[in-house]
C-alpha cells in the first residue's frame, strides 16, 4: 500500500439517458485510489448507482457518456464499446450488488460460479478450484470446501453476499464497485459485512467504491466520500473534512436524516413541521425552488 495512485479517474463526467431529458450525472470529478474505500452517498435518484455502473461499462443502452478524463485502470474508456469493456470486467474491475439472493445463478453451486470468474480472468484450470475455496475462506465462510458445492438457496443472505464478494475478489481485481452491498441485509449481518470490507482494505491494495444511501454506514468505513444530489456533485473530500469539519448544507441535511435516539418522534403520527421528509430536503427557498450547492 505504498503508492496511492488512482486506479479509476473521471473528470467532467456527464451521463444522460436519451429520451429521459436532462442529465443523470453532470460534471462529476471522481477518483478511486488503490487501497482506499471511497464512499459515494446520495438519496435515490442522485446518480450514485449510475456512477458505479459506468465504471464497468454496465450502463443501459440508452445512456450517453462524455468526459474529459475517463480512465479505468489506465485505459481511456470515454468512447469504449461493449467489447472494449469485457477485458476490464475480466479480473481488472469487479462489482458487488445490493441483492445477494438474486445476484447468483440459482442452478449452479457457488464454487462453480467463482471458478467461472477465474476462468474468464484467464486462470489455469488446475488452480481455479483451490483459489475459489481459498477466497471463500478469506471472506470467512466456514467449511469452504463444503460450501463451495452448495447452491445459493442453501446459504443465508449474509453468506450469499460473502460469496458475491468472494466472486468479485477471486481474480485479484484492481478495483471493486460495491453498490449498496449491505442495504438488503439485517442490521447484525450488515455490521459483519462492513467489517469484511474494512478487512479487505487492510490486507489488500484494491480500490473500493462503496455506494450507499446511508451516510452513517459510509462514515464508518470510508476514507474519502463523495456526496451526490440529483446528478450533481455536492461535496467531496476525506470523511473527516466532509462530515465533521465543513459539511455543505445538503450534507448536513443528509446527516440530520441519520436516525438517532435523541430526535426520534414520540409517536408515528408526530411528523413535525414541514412534513415527514422535511429533514432530508435541502433547504428550500420561499418560492419553492431548490438550491443545491456544488462543492
Amino acid at each position: 500500500m505504498s503508492d496511492r495512485h488512482d486506479v479509476v479517474s473521471a473528470s467532467g463526467l456527464n451521463i444522460a439517458y436519451t429520451g429521459a431529458g436532462g442529465f443523470a450525472l453532470r460534471d462529476i470529478d471522481f477518483t478511486i485510489r488503490a487501497g482506499e474505500i471511497h464512499g459515494i452517498v446520495g438519496e435515490s435518484g442522485s446518480g450514485k448507482s449510475t456512477l458505479g455502473l459506468s465504471l464497468l461499462g454496465l450502463l443501459p443502452e440508452n445512456a450517453r457518456l462524455s468526459a474529459s478524463v475517463f480512465s479505468i485502470a489506465g485505459h481511456d474508456m470515454a468512447a469504449a464499446h461493449e467489447h472494449d469493456w469485457i477485458p476490464i470486467r475480466r479480473g481488472v474491475g469487479s462489482m458487488v450488488f445490493q441483492e445477494p439472493s438474486s445476484a447468483l445463478d440459482p442452478t449452479l453451486p457457488v464454487g462453480r460460479q467463482i471458478e467461472e470468474s477465474l476462468k474468464l480472468a484467464g486462470w489455469p484450470r488446475d488452480q481455479r478450484r483451490a483459489r475459489a475455496i481459498q477466497i471463500l475462506d478469506r471472506v470467512h465462510i466456514p467449511e469452504p470446501e463444503r460450501r463451495a458445492d452448495m447452491y445459493p438457496h442453501q446459504l443465508s443472505g449474509g453468506q450469499r453476499q460473502r460469496v458475491c464478494i468472494a466472486m468479485a475478489l477471486a481474480p485479484r481485481p484492481t478495483f471493486l464497485i460495491a453498490d449498496e452491498p449491505t442495504s438488503a441485509l439485517d442490521v447484525t449481518v450488515q455490521h459483519e459485512i462492513l467489517d469484511l470490507f474494512r478487512e479487505i482494505r487492510r490486507v489488500t491494495d484494491i480500490g473500493i467504491a462503496f455506494i450507499s444511501h446511508d451516510l452513517a454506514v459510509v462514515s464508518q468505513i470510508a476514507d474519502r466520500v463523495t456526496v451526490l444530489y440529483r446528478g450533481g456533485l455536492v461535496q467531496h473530500g476525506t470523511v473527516h473534512d466532509v462530515l465533521a469539519n465543513h459539511p455543505e448544507p445538503y450534507t448536513q441535511a443528509l446527516l440530520r436524516a441519520v436516525p438517532s435516539v435523541r430526535d426520534r418522534p414520540k409517536s408515528p403520527f408526530d411528523i413535525g413541521q414541514g412534513g415527514a421528509w422535511s429533514s432530508v430536503r435541502p433547504h428550500e427557498t420561499d418560492d419553492g425552488t431548490k438550491e443545491v450547492s456544488h462543492g
Binding site: I86, I88, P106, E116, Y151, C164
Partner: protein
C-alpha cells in the same frame, strides 16, 4: 451428501404414491368412458348362418360377460389387468395385449425419434433467436417457426410423399420392425418423424426464445455481465440451463401426447401404430381393445410425467427439499 439423497428419496416415494392413485382413477375413467360412447360390439355380428337371432345374441352377450352390471365387469377387467391380461378383442380374433405389444413399439419409436429431432433443431435455433432478440436472425427463425406451427403436419407429410413419388421414388411408406431390420426400420421412420418434428420444434423454439429473453432480464444476468461474460456465453452457460426446467415439462408431455396422437401421420405413411389401432377399435365398439389402448396411452402419459418430476430436482436443485 446423504441428507440430500434421503430428501430425494422421500420426494420420489411421494411422487410414486400419487402416481399409483392416478393409475387406478385412470382405469375407472377409461372403463366408464368406453361404455358411455354409443354403439354395440355385437351390432355387426353375423356367422355362417347369417344374421343371428335375438336369443343367440343374448347368449353371446352372457358368454362375453356384457350382461353383468358395470361394477362387476370393471372388477373382472381390472383384476385381469393387474396380471397383465388385457383380455380378448370382441370383434377380431386376437388378444388385446398381443396387438398392443405389436403396435406400441412403432408409436414409441416414432415419438422418441421426432422428439430428438425436434430438440436437435429447437435448442440451437431457440438460443440464437433469444440471444439476438429483434435482429434479423430472430426475425427469420420466428417466421419459419410460425409457418411450421400454422401448417398442418399431414400437408407436409403428403407433400413429401407426393414429391417423392414423382422424383426420387424412395420407399417412404410402410413399416418394418426394428428387430427385423434396424436399418430399414429407421429409414422408413425418418420421414414421418421429421414431419412430426417440425411443428414440435417450432413450438419449442418459441418457448426457448421467450425463456432466454426473460432469463437475460433477471438480476443475476447483470452479475454475469459484470463478470465479463459475453451475451453468447450468458445464454449457453446459464440461460439454457435455467430454461431446461420449464422446457422439460413441455417436451415430456408432448412426447407422451405423440404416442397416441399420431393417427393422421400413421395413416399417411401406413404405420401400424397405436393411433390406427385405437381408431379401428372405436369404430367397432370393441370395448376391451379401446380400454386397453387408452389405458396404455394414459399409462405412458403418467409415466412421462413421473419421469419429468423425478428429473426436476436434478436440473433444479431447489425442488425436492421443501
Amino acid at each position: 451428501m446423504p441428507s440430500a439423497f434421503r430428501a430425494y428419496g422421500r420426494y420420489a416415494v411421494r411422487k410414486l404414491g400419487s402416481t399409483v392413485f392416478v393409475l387406478v382413477v385412470l382405469s375407472l375413467i377409461v372403463f366408464l368412458m368406453v361404455r358411455l360412447v354409443p354403439g354395440d360390439p355385437l351390432a355387426g355380428y353375423y356367422d355362417t348362418q347369417g344374421i343371428p337371432s335375438d336369443t343367440k345374441i343374448a347368449a353371446l352377450r352372457a358368454q362375453l360377460g356384457l350382461d353383468k352390471p358395470w361394477p362387476v365387469q370393471y372388477a373382472s377387467w381390472f383384476g385381469a389387468l393387474l396380471h397383465g391380461d388385457f383380455g380378448d378383442s370382441l370383434t377380431q380374433p386376437y388378444s388385446v395385449g398381443s396387438q398392443i405389444a405389436k403396435r406400441l413399439p412403432y408409436s414409441i419409436e416414432l415419438s422418441v425419434l421426432s422428439t430428438l429431432i425436434a430438440l436437435a433443431i429447437a435448442i440451437p435455433f431457440g438460443l440464437v433467436a433469444g440471444r439476438r432478440e429483434g435482429a434479423w436472425q430472430d426475425a427469420v427463425i420466428r417466421a419459419c417457426s410460425f409457418f411450421a406451427i400454422a401448417m398442418p403436419s399431414f400437408v407436409i407429410g403428403l407433400a413429401i410423399v407426393l414429391t417423392n413419388s414423382r422424383t426420387l421414388r424412395l420407399r417412404l411408406v410402410g413399416a418394418v420392425s426394428f428387430a427385423q431390420d434396424p436399418f430399414d426400420n429407421l429409414r422408413l421412420m425418418l420421414a414421418p418423424a421429421l414431419v412430426l418434428a417440425f411443428p414440435f420444434a417450432a413450438e419449442l423454439i418459441r418457448y426457448l426464445r421467450a425463456n432466454v429473453i426473460e432469463d437475460l432480464k433477471r438480476p443475476y444476468a447483470v452479475t454475469l455481465r459484470a463478470k465479463g461474460l459475453t451475451r453468447g456465453q450468458m445464454v449457453s452457460g446459464h440461460s439454457l440451463r435455467n430454461s431446461l426446467i420449464p422446457l422439460s415439462t413441455v417436451v415430456g408431455l408432448h412426447l407422451a401426447a405423440l404416442v397416441g396422437g399420431t393417427v393422421v401421420i400413421e395413416n399417411v405413411f401406413s404405420i401400424p401404430g397405436m393411433g390406427q389401432f385405437l381408431i379401428q377399435s372405436i369404430n367397432a365398439a370393441d370395448y376391451p381393445s379401446v380400454q386397453g389402448a387408452v389405458f396404455v396411452i394414459g399409462v405412458i402419459f403418467i409415466a412421462m410425467n413421473l419421469v419429468i418430476e423425478l428429473l426436476y430436482p436434478v436440473i433444479n436443485p431447489r425442488i425436492g427439499e421443501v
